[in-house]
Symmetry: C2
Subunit: 343 residues, 2 copies
């Protein structure tokens, strides 16, 4: 395969050494390699990850989500600088499962985290401008592993909360923080209920200045609502706190709570179980995506798929009948040795 010629074993080894040494340029190159859509790069990325795997798993993996304008980057900057001051090494990754959002919405501009970007113990990775659908999230999982191999002990994955993105991120991190806006009374909205279930910490940001009172009310309202809706015996649901990313008030306390929750999770075995379940779902999702892609890449089957879809939507065919027909066609072609590769 040409890919291994383009990036031979010794270049993979050199890149691995750079990552392990904590070279930020090597780490950036490694992530670019993992994000590449080229088959040759994929093989190299996997060879690289295989080398680095023994050095992964050591970080606190933290997801940060919230609606646009809630102050995610300010919060990450404040939290990141707090962690760096504690002697920690912090990596920030952006994931944007919905390519409909403009690239500038998350981390498009490093100056949004100007202070953290200057810190030597920090690594900030802007999101690629709109990756392949379904492709960004799996590669972000690999980017997390690469950051861990590079010695970062807190890896923050930032995502704009737009519905499905939160659950994608929740499935690749240890703890999820949801940032919300202060709001008055009945205006307390903007977060889908299902998302709350994913959160470990709900954090009312902007608890400062003119919004301090509103933040206090929002905090009380969410605490009340979440207490009422907490599932019985499930660890009590998410914590609810307030902070000001701008003044820094409450940010250190939020971190302390998160670190304590992470430590409890690790001691109780829950962390290992969660990560293993994530790995299982990751494998299943890679297999499903790969199989569906292979099916759609077969020109004859792809034409049948289109036809079946319109017949289903017109009410002339059931999905099981369509699936049976498509699978039979696909497997027959895949199994027939005389059939040659479809071009």
């Amino acid at each position: 395969v040409t890919g291994e010629a383009a990036l031979p074993q010794d270049r993979v080894a050199a890149l691995a050494a750079g990552v392990i040494a904590g070279d930020r340029l090597a780490l950036a190159r490694a992530i670019t390699l993992a994000e590449s859509g080229l088959d040759a790069d994929r093989a190299a990325a996997e060879a690289l990850l295989e080398r680095l795997l023994p050095r992964t798993g050591g970080a606190i993996r933290l997801g940060i989500s919230g609606p646009p304008g809630v102050g995610k980057s300010t919060f990450i900057e404040t939290l990141g600088l707090h962690l760096v001051a504690q002697g920690r090494r912090v990596a920030v990754l952006a994931v944007d499962p919905s390519s409909k959002i403009s690239g500038g919405a998350i981390l498009g501009d490093k100056t949004r985290m100007g202070g953290l970007a200057l810190a030597e113990q920090a690594f900030i990775r802007p999101s690629p401008a709109g990756g392949a659908a379904g492709g960004v999230a799996p590669r972000t999982r690999e980017a997390i592993l690469l950051c861990e191999a590079a010695g970062y002990d807190v890896v923050i994955v930032e995502t704009v909360g737009v519905g499905q993105s939160e659950s994608a991120v929740a499935d690749m991190v240890d703890l999820l923080v949801l940032l919300i806006q202060p709001a008055g009374g009945d205006e307390l909205q903007g977060m889908k209920r299902g998302i709350l279930e994913l959160a470990d910490l709900v954090l009312v940001n902007k608890a400062d200045g003119a919004l301090a009172d509103a933040a206090r009310r929002t905090l009380a309202d969410y605490r009340h609502a979440l207490r009422l809706l907490a599932p019985a015996g499930a660890g009590g649901g998410p914590l609810v706190e307030a902070c000001s990313a701008l003044t820094g008030a409450g940010v250190a306390e939020a971190w302390t709570a998160l670190a304590a929750r992470h430590a409890a999770l690790a001691e109780g075995g829950g962390l290992a179980a969660r990560r293993q379940a994530q790995a299982r779902r990751w494998l299943r999702s890679e297999l499903e995506l790969g199989l569906l892609a292979a099916l759609a890449a077969d020109p004859a089957v792809a034409a049948g798929l289109k036809d079946c879809q319109s017949r289903i939507l017109a009410g002339n065919m059931t999905p099981p009948a369509a699936a049976r027909r498509l699978l039979a066609a696909f497997l027959k072609r895949a199994r027939a040795p005389a059939d040659g590769p479809p071009s």
Copy 2:
């Protein structure tokens, strides 16, 4: 195919005629055929459904979920008799996606709905005792279609609320009702927050006798909590009402609210959109299940899958690398011999 010999076209035609005529025995046989795991039966079931498809889609598809003991069967009995008295024809199906629950937990005993079972305009279908994992839900979708072809204009799908079952049912009905228990203050629990998002109506049952006050408080608490958490501009989330399935108080009102919501959904085009999205997910899920089954049925690939899984859990392999290896092995036979996987 021997299956078409075992159940030839004319027998399929006769069964279809029986279903269309509203013969309950024919409908029961048709559902049994759809639930069968035999390839021959599958082909016959698909031929049957293809004939009946033009007659489907006319019912209000209603999901009823809730924890064990909340009174689901009493509620369905009361609601069903109310609908029958209105001249409607009501079919009740049970779905039990988790085969861990004993078959008796849902509809194992028809006498639980003794009155409704006697009504000529009703059809009650007990769940099969533990179907194949992932297999019950898709076949329940087919059972809904069969009931519609038989002229039932309300199809109720009952499920025990045990986490994932609600979302499986929500993906095959038009409206989902969650029944909950009256409870006092902080005991107001037992429903996972994410489930609430799926509901169109949250109904506090047992609002009678000694529990009447508790039901009133629970109603107020849920209304408050859901109002606080309602997503902005998303139609206001679920309705929250109370009823007594035992005395019948509130059941007719609950139905009126559901029917009004269904009519609004149908008029606004939301119903068609919802059903089309369900059909798309149904096809995708059938394809994924079929492809994964085909992959696992290949002995060499299945052995590789087992090996990859343990290597992933041991931290020696990433899921993308495992998926690439397994897919290459699975597709190798027809896809170019030159295209082999890097080893």
